[in-house]
C-alpha cells in the first residue's frame, strides 16, 4: 500500500513535455490514486449539471415576460428597524469559504500524518457545512412563510424566481449535506487510525476536492442569484 514508485517529479520534466510523457506512458496517465482521478472526473461531470442549471436560469430570466423580483429586497434581513440586504447571505458565504480553509489545513496535516489534528479539522469543516445548511433552512423558511414565495409563483415578480431559487440552492444544499456526511465518515476513519495503518492520507485530499468544488459552485450561485 505504500507509495513505492519513484517520485513522479524525478522522472518527467514539469512542463509541456512532461504532460505529453504522462499521457503517452503506460499503466496510468496521471500519477495519482484511482480515487482521486475518479473524483476529478466526477466533478467535471457535476460541473455540467450545475452549468446546465445556471444556464437554464439565465436563459429564462432573460426571456420571461414579467420583471424579475428585486433581489436586494427579497433577500434582505430586517435587523434593528431597517432592511439590510445581503446580510444573511454574506454570513453564509463567509462560513462556507472558511470551511474550505479548514479543509485545506486538514489536507496539509493529513500529509504530515497528524492524526488528531486532521480529524478535528475535518470535523470543523463538516460543522461549517452544517452551519451553512442550517442558515439555508432559515432563509428558505423566511422566504416561504414570511414572504410567501413558492416554486410556482410569488408576489414580487416572475413566477420562475421561486422555482429556480429553490431548485438550484436546494440542489447545492443537497451537495453540502452529502458532503457533511462524507466528511464525517472520513473524519471518524481518520480518528480511528485507519489511514495511519494504510500509511496513506490521500483520501482526505479526495474529500477535500469535493468540498472545494461545492464551495466554488456556491460562489457562482451567490453571484448569479444575489448580486445580479
Amino acid at each position: 500500500m505504500s507509495n513505492n514508485h519513484v517520485s513522479h517529479a524525478d522522472l518527467v520534466p514539469d512542463n509541456l513535455k512532461g504532460l505529453v510523457a504522462d499521457w503517452s506512458s503506460d499503466v496510468q496517465a496521471f500519477k495519482v490514486r484511482w480515487s482521486k482521478a475518479m473524483m476529478w472526473i466526477f466533478l467535471v461531470s457535476d460541473t455540467f449539471i450545475f452549468g446546465s442549471f445556471l444556464s437554464a436560469y439565465m436563459a429564462v430570466r432573460l426571456t420571461t415576460i414579467e420583471p424579475w423580483p428585486n433581489t436586494s429586497e427579497v433577500f434582505a434581513l430586517h435587523v434593528g428597524g431597517s432592511d439590510i440586504p445581503l446580510l444573511l447571505i454574506a454570513i453564509m458565504t463567509f462560513i462556507l469559504i472558511s470551511s474550505s480553509g479548514t479543509m485545506a489545513m486538514a489536507v496539509t496535516s493529513g500529509y504530515k500524518k497528524q492524526r488528531v489534528k486532521t480529524g478535528v479539522l475535518i470535523l470543523l469543516t463538516a460543522l461549517g457545512g452544517v452551519g451553512f445548511v442550517g442558515m439555508q433552512m432559515f432563509e428558505w423558511s423566511k422566504l416561504i412563510f414570511e414572504e410567501g414565495i413558492r416554486p410556482w409563483g410569488n408576489e414580487f415578480g416572475a413566477d420562475q424566481f421561486g422555482g429556480f431559487f429553490f431548485m438550484i440552492t436546494g440542489f447545492h444544499g443537497l451537495h453540502v449535506s452529502i458532503g457533511v456526511v462524507y466528511l464525517t465518515t472520513i473524519a471518524v476513519r481518520v480518528l480511528q487510525g485507519r489511514y495511519d495503518r494504510l500509511d496513506d492520507y490521500q483520501i482526505v485530499e479526495v474529500a477535500g476536492l469535493y468540498w472545494h468544488f461545492v464551495d466554488l459552485v456556491w460562489i457562482f450561485i451567490f453571484a448569479f442569484f444575489y448580486l445580479w
Binding site: M1, N3, N4, H5, W23, S24, S25, D26, V27, Q28, A29, F30, K31, V32, R33, W34, S35, A37, M38, I41, F42, V44, S45, D46, F48, I49, G51, S52, F53, A56, A59, V60, T63, T64, I65, E66, P151, W152, A158, D159, Q160, G162, G163, F164, M167, L198, I203, V206
Partner: protein
C-alpha cells in the same frame, strides 16, 4: 478505496457462493453480461412496439386495440428504449464492462463495487420504465423528445397519469447508473492499464468506448437537469418550460417559461448521445475489420485523432435538430457549419476502413459480413445527413419520413449491425463456443436486406411530404394512395425482419450447449482478451503476473512471423 496504485497488488474481491458469483457479482465480465441480457430483453420489447406501430401504418384500423393514444405511446417508448435502454446500455455497460479490463490487461474495473451498483441502478431504471406500462392511462405518448408543453398537458397520453413522471424518473435513475459506470470506465482506461499498454497502443474500441463515456458524462447532466425541471413543471406546476397557455378558452396556471429551453437542454444531451451510440459501433467495426481481413488497421493515429475531433465537435452541433423550432436563423447558420465540419473526421474513419479492406485477405465470416453491411449503411445514412444538416433543405424535410429514414439508417441500423457483428465476434470469448455459422448467415441476410426494404422507401415517402408521427395517413388529400401501398410493403418487411431476430436468440441459446468448441483464440486476434489465462477468462482474468504489452493491437501479417498475427503480449524476440 483500499486499492494500491501498484497495479499488480490490486486486491481482488473474491466472490462468495453462487449468489456472489452470478448475481451480486463485482466481476466486470459478469456485470457486462448482466447489462447485455437486460438490454437485449428490453430491446426486444422496443422492437415489438415498433412492429405494433408498423401494423397501424400498414393496415390502418385492422387492430382495434391500437388507437391514436396507444400509437403515440408505442412511438415514444420505442424511441426511448432503443436509444437509451438498449444501445447506450449495451454498448457501454455491456461491451464496455466486458472488454475494457480484458483488453487493457487489468484484473477488473477500478471500483468493482460501484460497478455492481451501476448495473443494479440500470435494472431499477428499466423496471421503472416498464412499470409505466401498467399505471393508469399508460406510459407517456409525447414522442421520445418529450417536448413540453405538450408532454405534460392533459390530453397527451400518460400526461395526466403517472406515465410522464415515471419516464423522467427512470431517466434520472439511468443517468445515476451511467455515471457510476462511466466513472469506472474512464478511471480504468486512464489509470489501470498493464505495463506496455500506452494510450496509443490501446485497441480502437477502447478509445471509442472511452470517448463515448466521456461524452456521456458531459451530456447526460443536461438531460438530468431537463428531466428534473420537467418533473417540477408537471408536479409542482412551476413554469420553467411553460408559456402562458390557453386551453378551451381558459388560461392555465402556467406562464412566462421557455419551451425552446427544454429543446436546447434535450439536444445538448441528444446530439452527443448519437455519438455515444455511434463511437462504440465505430470501435467494434475497427476491431472486426482488421481481424477478419487479416490486415493492420489503416491510419491508427488518424483514427484516434478523428475520434477525438468527433467527440469534441459533437458538443457544438446540437441545434441542427431545432432548425424549425423558432431559433434565430443566424444560429442555424452556425450549427449547419459545425454539422458539415463533423463529416470530415467521420469520412476519415470510413476511408480508413475501406483502405484497410483494400488488398486484404478478407474472410467472409459473419462478423465480416456485418462490417461490410455497416460500412454501406453508415455511408448512406451519412449522405442523407448532409441533406438534413443544411437549413434550407432541412426546413421542408423536417418532421417527415425522410428524417425517420435518415436516423434509422445512421443510428439505428448501423449501430445494430455493428452490435450484431460484435456479438458474433466476442460470443466465443464469453462462452467458449462458436455461434452457428449457417444460422448466422441466414440471420444476417434477412436483417441486412430487410432493413433496406424497410427504410429506403421511407426516404421516398418523406420526399412526398408525409409527416412523421401521424397516427394515420388516409385522411389527407396530399398523400397519394401509393404511400399506403408502400406502407403495407414496409410493414410486411418489418415483420419478417422482426421474426428473423429470433434466429439470433435461438442461435444464442442453443450454441451455449451445442456450439463448436472455440478454443482460446478462434479468430486469430491480436488483442489481449483472447490471450487470457483461461478460456473463457476466469475471475481476475490473468495469471499471477499481468501480461506485458509489446506492440500495437493490429500486427496482422507481420513479415518474418509464421502465424499471420502476433498478439500484443508477444515480445519481438519471441516471434516465431
Amino acid at each position: 478505496m483500499e486499492q494500491s496504485s501498484a497495479y499488480e497488488g490490486q486486491p481482488l474481491h473474491e466472490p462468495k457462493g453462487w449468489w456472489g458469483r452470478y448475481v451480486f457479482s463485482q466481476d466486470h465480465k459478469v456485470i457486462g453480461l448482466q447489462y447485455t441480457c437486460i438490454a437485449l430483453a428490453i430491446g426486444l420489447t422496443g422492437m415489438f412496439l415498433s412492429l405494433l406501430m408498423r401494423m397501424q401504418l400498414g393496415f390502418p384500423g385492422l387492430f382495434e386495440s391500437i388507437d391514436a393514444g396507444s400509437y403515440y405511446q408505442d412511438v415514444t417508448m420505442h424511441g426511448m428504449i432503443m436509444v437509451i435502454y438498449l444501445l447506450t446500455a449495451l454498448f457501454l455497460g455491456g461491451f464496455g464492462n466486458y472488454l475494457i479490463p480484458l483488453m487493457l490487461g487489468s484484473r477488473d474495473m477500478a471500483f468493482p463495487f460501484v460497478n455492481m451498483l451501476s448495473f443494479w441502478f440500470y435494472l431499477l431504471s428499466v423496471l421503472i420504465l416498464v412499470a409505466s406500462f401498467f399505471v393508469e392511462s399508460g406510459p407517456t405518448g409525447a414522442g421520445w423528445t418529450l417536448y413540453p408543453p405538450q408532454s405534460i398537458l392533459e390530453g397527451t397520453p400518460g400526461a395526466d397519469g403517472a406515465g410522464i413522471i415515471l419516464m423522467l424518473a427512470s431517466l434520472a435513475v439511468f443517468i445515476i447508473a451511467f455515471t457510476m459506470g462511466g466513472l469506472n470506465y474512464i478511471t480504468t482506461v486512464l489509470q489501470s492499464r498493464t505495463r506496455g499498454m500506452t494510450l496509443m497502443r490501446m485497441p480502437l474500441i477502447i478509445w471509442c468506448i472511452f470517448l463515448a463515456t466521456f461524452l456521456g458524462l458531459l451530456a447526460f447532466p443536461a438531460l438530468l437537469v431537463g428531466a428534473i425541471m420537467l418533473i417540477f413543471d408537471r408536479v409542482l406546476e412551476t413554469s420553467f418550460f411553460m408559456p402562458e397557455i390557453f386551453k378551451g378558452g381558459e388560461v392555465l396556471d402556467y406562464g412566462g417559461g421557455s419551451p425552446v429551453l427544454f429543446q436546447h437542454l434535450f439536444w445538448f444531451f441528444g446530439h452527443p448521445e448519437v455519438y455515444i451510440i455511434a463511437l462504440p459501433a465505430f470501435g467494434i467495426i475497427s476491431e472486426l475489420i482488421s481481424c477478419h481481413a487479416r490486415k493492420n488497421i489503416f491510419g491508427y493515429n488518424m483514427m484516434v485523432w478523428a475520434l477525438i475531433a468527433i467527440a469534441g465537435i459533437a458538443f457544438i452541433v446540437w441545434a441542427h435538430h431545432m432548425y424549425v423550432a423558432g431559433m434565430n436563423p443566424y444560429l442555424g447558420f452556425f450549427f449547419a457549419t459545425t454539422t458539415l465540419i463533423i463529416a470530415i473526421p467521420t469520412a476519415i474513419k470510413v476511408y480508413n476502413w475501406v483502405i484497410t479492406l483494400w488488398n486484404a485477405n478478407i474472410r467472409m465470416t459473419v462478423p465480416m459480413l456485418y462490417c461490410l453491411a455497416f460500412l454501406i449503411t453508415f455511408l448512406i445514412g451519412g449522405l442523407t445527413g448532409l441533406f438534413l444538416g443544411n437549413v434550407a433543405v432541412d426546413v421542408p424535410l423536417s418532421d417527415t419520413y425522410f428524417v425517420v429514414g435518415h436516423f434509422h439508417m445512421v443510428m439505428a441500423v448501423s449501430p445494430v449491425l455493428a452490435l450484431y457483428g460484435g456479438l458474433y465476434h466476442w460470443y466465443p470469448s464469453v462462452t467458449g463456443r462458436m455461434l452457428d455459422d449457417r444460422l448466422g448467415k441466414i440471420h444476417f441476410w434477412i436483417t441486412f436486406i430487410g432493413t433496406y426494404l424497410v427504410y429506403f422507401p421511407m426516404h421516398y415517402i418523406g420526399f412526398l411530404g408525409v409527416p412523421r408521427r401521424y397516427y394515420s395517413n388516409d385522411q389527407y388529400d396530399f398523400i397519394p394512395q401509393s404511400v399506403n401501398d408502400l406502407n403495407q410493403f414496409i410493414t410486411i418487411c418489418a415483420l419478417i425482419v422482426g421474426a428473423a431476430q429470433f434466429i439470433l436468440l435461438y442461435n444464442f441459446v442453443v450454441s451455449i450447449y451445442k456450439g463448436k468448441k472455440a478454443g482460446s483464440n478462434p479468430w486469430g486476434a491480436c488483442t489481449l482478451e483472447w490471450q487470457a489465462l483461461e478460456s473463457p477468462p476466469g475471475h481476475g482474468n490473468w495469471d499471477v503476473q499481468l501480461p506485458v504489452v509489446h506492440r500495437w493491437p493490429y500486427d496482422y501479417g507481420l513479415p518474418g512471423a509464421t502465424a499471420d498475427f502476433v498478439p500484443q503480449n508477444v515480445a519481438d524476440e519471441d516471434i516465431t
